[in-house]
C-alpha cells in the first residue's frame, strides 16, 4: 500500500553530531507579554543525556515544546536532528509533563503502545505483525509486558508513565524529549526508567529531559543546563531552594 505520511515534509535518516542546535531562541505564549524563553542557546550532542534543570516557570517545558514543533519560535534558530523544529515528526518522541491522554478511553496497554507506530504508518495503513512485534519489544524493555491486556484506566501513575515511555520506544525515535519523566513515580519506576534512558543513550539515541529535581541529575545526565525565568543561568542555579 502507498505510504501517505501525516506530515509531507521529507524526514531523511539523520546522522549528525548534534541532535539539537538552539541559538538565541525566544518563545512566547499567546497573550502573554513576557517571553517564556528568552535568548536561549543550547547544543545537545547526539547520543547524550542532557538535563534541563529549573523551577516551575523557568522555561524548560517551553523549550521542549518548541523542540517538538508544538510551539513556534519567535526569534533565533532551533534545529532538531538537523532540520527546523517540527520537521522530523516520526524521529522525535515527546513526553509532556501533563499528557493529554484520555485514560478512561476503552483501550488496553498494548493498544496505546501500538499507537507509537502510527507516525511510521501514515494515513490508511493498519499496524502489521512487524509493528506489533516492535510494540511488544518496547513493552518488554519497560517491564510492562504483564500489563499488555490491562485496560488503561486500571493503571497507576507510575504504570501510565511507563506505558507512555514504551510508546515512545515503539516509535523508535532518535530524540526523546521528556518533561519531568521521573516526577510523581515510585522509586522502582524511577530506577528502571533511569536505566532505560542510559541504555537508549548507549544505543546512540539522544535524551533531553526537563527536571526541577536536582538530586541524581549530576550522576545520571551527561550535561545539566540550568534555567531561571526563561534564561540560562550558571550552575548551580541562583535559586537552589526552589529546586530542592
Amino acid at each position: 500500500m502507498i505510504f501517505l505520511p501525516y506530515d509531507r515534509r521529507p524526514s531523511p535518516p539523520w546522522t549528525g553530531r548534534f541532535a539539537i542546535e538552539a541559538e538565541g531562541v525566544t518563545a512566547r505564549y499567546p497573550g502573554v507579554a513576557a517571553p517564556a524563553l528568552s535568548n536561549f542557546s543550547l547544543t545537545v550532542p547526539a547520543g547524550s543525556r542532557t538535563a534541563l534543570v529549573g523551577s516551575n516557570g523557568a522555561g524548560k517545558s517551553t523549550f521542549l515544546r518548541a523542540a517538538a514543533g508544538l510551539m513556534p519560535v519567535e526569534s533565533g534558530s532551533l534545529l532538531v536532528l538537523g532540520r527546523p523544529a517540527g520537521w522530523c515528526r516520526c524521529r522525535v518522541a515527546y513526553l509532556p509533563q501533563k499528557p493529554e491522554v484520555e485514560w478512561r478511553f476503552p483501550a488496553v496497554v498494548q493498544d496505546v503502545v501500538l499507537t507509537g507506530r502510527d507516525a511510521h504508518l501514515g494515513w490508511l495503513r493498519r499496524p502489521g505483525a512487524d509493528d506489533r512485534a516492535r510494540a511488544r519489544r518496547a513493552m518488554e524493555r519497560t517491564g510492562i509486558s504483564d500489563l499488555a491486556s490491562r485496560p488503561i484506566h486500571h493503571l497507576s501513575g507510575g504504570q501510565q508513565q511507563r506505558v507512555l515511555i514504551a510508546r515512545a520506544l515503539a516509535q523508535e525515535a532518535d530524540l526523546f524529549l521528556l518533561d519531568e519523566p521521573l516526577n510523581a513515580v515510585d522509586a522502582e519506576t524511577r530506577s528502571s526508567v533511569g536505566r532505560l534512558l542510559n541504555d537508549l543513550c548507549r544505543e546512540g539515541r539522544t535524551v533531553l529531559m526537563a527536571t526541577h529535581h536536582l538530586g541524581g541529575v549530576g550522576e545520571e545526565a551527561d550535561l545539566a543546563v540550568y534555567l531561571s525565568e526563561g534564561r540560562q543561568t550558571p550552575a548551580p542555579c541562583e535559586h537552589p531552594e526552589a529546586l530542592s
Partner: protein, 271 residues
Amino acid sequence: MSFLLGPLQYPFMRMGLAAAALAGLVCGLLGVYVVLRRVAFVGHAMTHGSLPGLVWAQSRGMSLFGGAVLANLVTAFGIGWISRREDTSEDTAIGILSSVMLAAGLVMASHGRSFRDLTGLLFGQVLGVTGNDLAWMGGAAAVVAAALFLFHKEWMLATLDPGHARLIGLPVGLLRTGYLILLVLGVSSAVRTVGAVLTGALLVAPAAAARLLCRRLPAMMAVSVLISVAGGVGGLYLSYYAGWPSGASIALLCAAAYGLARLATSGKAGR
C-alpha cells in the same frame, strides 16, 4: 414467530424497520465518539437544530433528509461562529443555538401548513418513511461506516491522545471537523424515524451502555451498534403492539439497555 412476522405484512412497517435499523447503525457508530469525546451536548444541539430544516423541507415537499442536513450544517457552523470569542464557551453557544433553532422550527411550523405534522417531526414519524428516505439513509450510513473504518486509527489517536496526535502531524482540527460533518449526516438520517427531540437517545444511550460493557474500542463500536439497531427495531415492534409513539419507544428501549448495562456492571465501579 407470528409475533415477529405479523407486522412485516405491512409495507410501511417493512420500510420503517429498515429505516430504524439504518438509523441504529449510524447512531450506534457515531455515538461511540460522541460519548468518548464528551460531545453529547453537540449531538443534542444537532437533533434539535434539525427542526427548521425538517419543517422547511416538508412544507415544500422536499427531502426531509436534505432539509435536516442544511439545518444541521447551519447549527454546526453557528456553534463554531458564536464560540469564536474567548468569552463565549462552546457549551454556551450550543445552549443558545439549540434553543434558537428549535424555536425557529416551531415558528416556521406555526406559519405554514406543516404545523399538523409537527408532532411527527419532533417525535418521529416512521409510518411516512419513503423509498427515497431509505436511499438517503443508506447512503449516509455507507459514508459514515466507510469513514470510521478507513480513518479508525486516526480518530482513535485524536481522541485517546490529541497531544501525541498533533506531535506526529495528524490534523486534529480537521479530524474534528470531519467528525462533525459525519454527525450532521448521521443525525439528519435518524431524525425522520426517531424525531428531532429523541434522536439524542439513540445517539448517546447505546454507546454509553457499550462503554460500560467493553474494554476496547472495536468491541465498544460493535456492541453500541448492536444495542442501537436492536433498540430501533425493537422500539418499532413495541410501538406496533403497545400503540406507543415510535420515537419514544426507541428512546425508552435504548435507555433501558443503558440501565441494564449499569446493573450488570454495578460491581465494577470505575469501569
